[in-house]
Amino acid sequence: MKDKVITRIIKIAGFSSIIIVLMIFYFLLKEGLPTLGEVALSDLFTTRWYPIEDYFGILPLFSGSLLVTFISIAIALPFGIGTAVYIAEIAPARVKEILKPLIEILAGIPSVVLGFIGIVFLSPTLRETFNLPTGLTAFTGALLLALISVPTIVSVAEDALNAVPQSYREASYALGVTRWQTIWQVTLPAARSGVITAVMLGISRTLGETMAVMMVTGNAPTMLQGIQSIFKPTRTMTATIASEMGEVASGSTHYHVLFFIGIVLFLFSLIINIISSHFSEKNRKEKEQVV
């Protein structure tokens, strides 16, 4: 009897995540969709974001997010995959035991702390080194974001490398192939799906990060203007929501548009995560075939 009740409760808890995702989607739609009745689509997809005068062009925020995410992943990718390769393939056990907790600590440092480091250390350093008018730039944000996404990339990619059967490497060595070539031409390709998952999750983490970017990118919603935008202030979608939501009246057009941006972010993360879970599933199945 008691068993039945408990089993029922556990089952309901099990299904709770479906209900929560639907609730999140519902509330975002409820507060965000009125945008479409208040701002014409042709106005929404313009390049001027200036809500005080009712300019709600979200393209600069969109390009800001893309720019920062792109630079950040370009930096995080070699470091993340390189470190994963080191931990999974090269490092002796004792070094591994030091490195893995360090990566976990990095993952645990709150983004507001990284943002603070960005303000007091990184941005003045960059300003002086590159002789910039301001150190609060897309590049500054991207560097901090790289620190935030590296732990995700390392741990997922490392798992994927560890899942590659030892027999692959041994067969490769037996053919006289060096360890370095084995890593590049055997192990990494075999872990391909897992490595793709790692990168996609890194992108998702970067795109959704808020505080660190908001604190160091200079809060300027300007359109992308070629390569020099890297060293200019910018503004991401997440930072816009975080910095403006506190000051708007609930129910106003500005409020609805901020929720609309939330819907865009939600859909982005949903798509990236579902695709990457597809890849990690594929990775698992490939491994099962071998064994």
Binding site: G14, P110, V113
Partner: protein, 291 residues
């Protein structure tokens, strides 16, 4: 002749091997350098600020002097509040997935939902919390609304780690329980759960660590700029360390640097202690495991 060329080819390969190895070492080093650098930098600059008075008194002079007691207490409240909601629900959902869930389309949906939850940007959780808890359920800007928002954000971490911890308990434990006449729930509660407990605890602590350091989800659900007294009910708004750091490093002109560093150090210690206890529980459990 051909013998000699194959000899040089080997030398080239070996040289490539050496260069590659060096490169990987350098990359890994530069990935981990920032972790140690950040911790050292914060400790060195923040330690002189930390006095008993700083930790236990109210801020004065527009937060430019005095202590950070209300922010510390607020972060404790929010962390406990998050645990109250997310731990029972998350652990129950993890038990469902590991022990009860059949292999069908619904379980597939639950997994997709969890993956989606894990990827949602923290600021979008903040929007959801604002729409649902603050406005729709009329909880207002409060500890309760912020805790609920943070617990939903923490849920996927707790569910996944609980499931994983239960799955590593060998199948024979369950078979023996059943053969002794225990009901399924009795077996789980008396045997399986205790065996999986260190793993679950590690996941719970890591999830709460993230909640404790988050700023974006509480920006518009419960955090407040300044409070002249400690919150007295769950329906009060509260100060919190991450939000406090954001405010004093970006919004308050003339903020003394040592107070900023001190506040950051307190948050960092808070988070690192949680991180270290999680890691310690895990390593110790692995070492003592009998199976």
């Amino acid at each position: 002749m051909s013998n000699q060329s194959s000899h040089t080819a080997t030398q080239v390969r070996k040289a490539k091997d050496g260069i590659g190895y060096t490169l990987i070492h350098i990359i890994s080093f530069f990935t981990l350098l920032p972790v140690l650098g950040i911790i050292f930098y914060i400790v060195a600059n923040g330690a002189p600020t930390i006095t008993w008075d700083f930790l236990t008194s109210m801020p004065t002079d527009g937060m430019r002097a005095g202590g950070i007691l209300p922010a510390i207490v607020g972060t404790l409240y929010l962390t406990i509040g998050t645990a109250v909601f997310s731990v029972p629900l998350g652990v129950a959902a993890g038990i469902y997935l590991a022990e009860y869930a059949p292999q069908n389309i619904w379980t597939r949906f639950i997994r997709i939902a969890i993956i989606s939850l894990a990827g949602i940007p923290s600021v979008v959780y903040g929007l959801f919390g604002l729409g649902m808890f603050v406005l729709f359920l009329k909880l207002g800007n409060s500890i309760l609304a912020a805790s609920l928002t943070l617990s939903i954000m923490t849920l996927p971490t707790i569910i996944s780690t609980t499931e994983e911890a239960l799955r590593v308990v060998p199948e024979r434990f369950r078979v023996v329980c059943a053969s002794l006449g225990a009901s399924k729930w009795q077996g789980i509660r008396k045997i399986i759960l205790p065996e999986a407990m260190p793993g679950i605890l590690t996941g719970v602590i890591l999830g709460l660590e993230r909640a404790a350091g988050e700023t974006a989800p509480i920006l518009f659900t419960g955090a407040t700029f300044f409070l002249p007294h400690l919150p007295s009910s769950p329906l009060d708004a509260t100060m919190a360390l991450p939000y406090h750091i954001f405010v004093i490093s970006t919004q308050v002109p003339g903020m003394p640097l040592q107070i900023q560093f001190g506040s950051v150090l307190v948050l960092l210690v808070f988070v690192l202690v949680m991180n270290l206890s999680a890691t310690t529980i895990r390593t110790r459990a692995r070492r003592n495991r009998q199976w």
